[in-house]
């Protein structure tokens, strides 16, 4: 049976599911958000934004659950032979990833909340309206959302490159142990 929780050597099924689900949703959001932003004003554009905002809120909730899970489930130890500076760098970049995965959706909410465009989550659930509409603030929030998204994308690329380096150059199991297909080793 597949382990739900992390062990000292392996990621549990829950952590893997969080990792890949959030990764897929973030990739989708990047594509969706870019198309919605670039599209000319049309019913499709308005629909795409409802999807983008709804999925963004979903990611935010998922990442909060993910962080809660992670706090109760320490990640498996790094393989032997990883330098201390590498471990530190990994910790910093993972910390930044978690931070941005929370802050980027929040800045998206900020844009929506300060704009005059109404929003209902998946066309169903009203969301709390926290701030009065303010065009300047909404545009500023949009700039922040764009900059932080670019930063998040950059760190994700570094994350992918680092995983590839571990797999192909250093030939350790850091990448493969996160793959959903791999059976967890006994420990």
């Amino acid at each position: 049976m597949r382990m739900l929780r992390n062990t000292e050597r392996a990621w549990g099924a829950v952590a893997k599911a969080f990792h890949w689900t959030v990764a897929a949703l973030m990739l989708g959001q990047l594509v969706l958000g870019t198309i919605a932003e670039e599209a000319r004003v049309s019913p499709l554009k308005l629909d795409l934004f409802v999807w983008h905002k709804s999925i963004g809120v979903s990611i935010l909730l998922l990442v909060i659950l993910r962080v809660a899970w992670r706090l109760r489930n320490p990640p498996p130890a790094a393989p032997d032979g990883i330098a201390a500076w590498e471990t530190l760098l990994a910790k910093v970049s993972h910390g930044l990833l978690y931070l941005l995965m929370i802050v980027v959706p929040l800045t998206g909410w900020w844009i929506s909340d300060t704009s005059r465009i109404p929003f209902r989550l998946y066309w169903m659930l009203p969301v709390p309206d926290l701030m009065a509409p303010n065009r300047d603030l909404s545009e500023f929030a949009a700039d922040v959302h764009g900059v932080l998204t670019t930063l998040l994308l950059a760190i994700v690329i570094v994350h992918i490159l680092a995983a590839c380096r571990h797999h192909f150059l250093l030939r350790n199991d850091i990448l493969s142990r996160m793959l959903p297909t791999r059976q967890n080793p006994r420990n």
């Binding site: 019913p43 308005l46 629909d47 409802v50 005059r116 209902r120 066309w123 009203p126 065009r135």
Partner: protein
């Protein structure tokens, strides 16, 4: 033809013996759904003239002219879309005009005006219920009615469904009136 008639009516307005004329404190707002959520806007420039004597409703008349270029949804981007050819097309149709051909009183102080609305080049019959109160020198008419925007091709082409923007537009008005000089 009807167009011309309304235009003539409008041009003839100064000579028309309306008893009441709207003041700047009047409000005329519209509401529609935007992806399932309500959104509102306001007509910031409109004029109402009303001839209304409950004892002699045959002579009653309501004439409303709304400058669509002053429609406002509170956001410049949304307003740009609103003025666009697919929506109000204010380049071609700067104003909408309603002229009643009958006003009836169905309860004390409660009236129904039926008449023709000329909006974006389409003229159609609409029914406008309103309450009317007057005390001394001032009067107020208040009402709410619904117009299907697609009847007037407001939101044409790809917008002509309720997919993103609702078809029913709810119009609310509170018109403060003073006797015409």
């Amino acid at each position: 033809m009807r167009h011309a008639l309304i235009a003539v009516l409008w041009l003839a307005l100064p000579a028309y013996a309306a008893e009441w004329r709207s003041t700047a404190a009047s409000e005329f707002t519209f509401r529609v759904t935007f992806e399932g959520e309500p959104i509102a806007g306001e007509f910031r420039d409109f004029e109402v003239s009303l001839e209304l004597d409950p004892a002699c409703l045959d002579a009653a008349a309501l004439l409303v002219r709304v400058d669509l270029r002053a429609a406002d949804m509170g956001d410049p981007d949304m307003n740009d879309v609103l003025f666009d050819a697919a929506w109000f097309d204010t380049q071609q149709f700067a104003a909408a005009v309603f002229a009643s051909d009958a006003i009836t009183e169905h309860a004390p102080g409660q009236f129904i005006a039926t008449g023709m609305l000329d909006l974006k080049g389409t003229v159609r019959r609409v029914t406008v219920p309103f309450s009317w109160t007057h005390s001394g020198d001032a009067a107020t008419m208040q009402g709410r009615f619904v117009v299907k925007r697609t009847d007037f091709e407001v939101g044409s082409g790809e917008w002509a469904t309720d997919d993103a923007i609702g078809i029913d537009v709810e119009l609310d008005f509170t018109v403060h009136l003073l006797p015409e000089d």
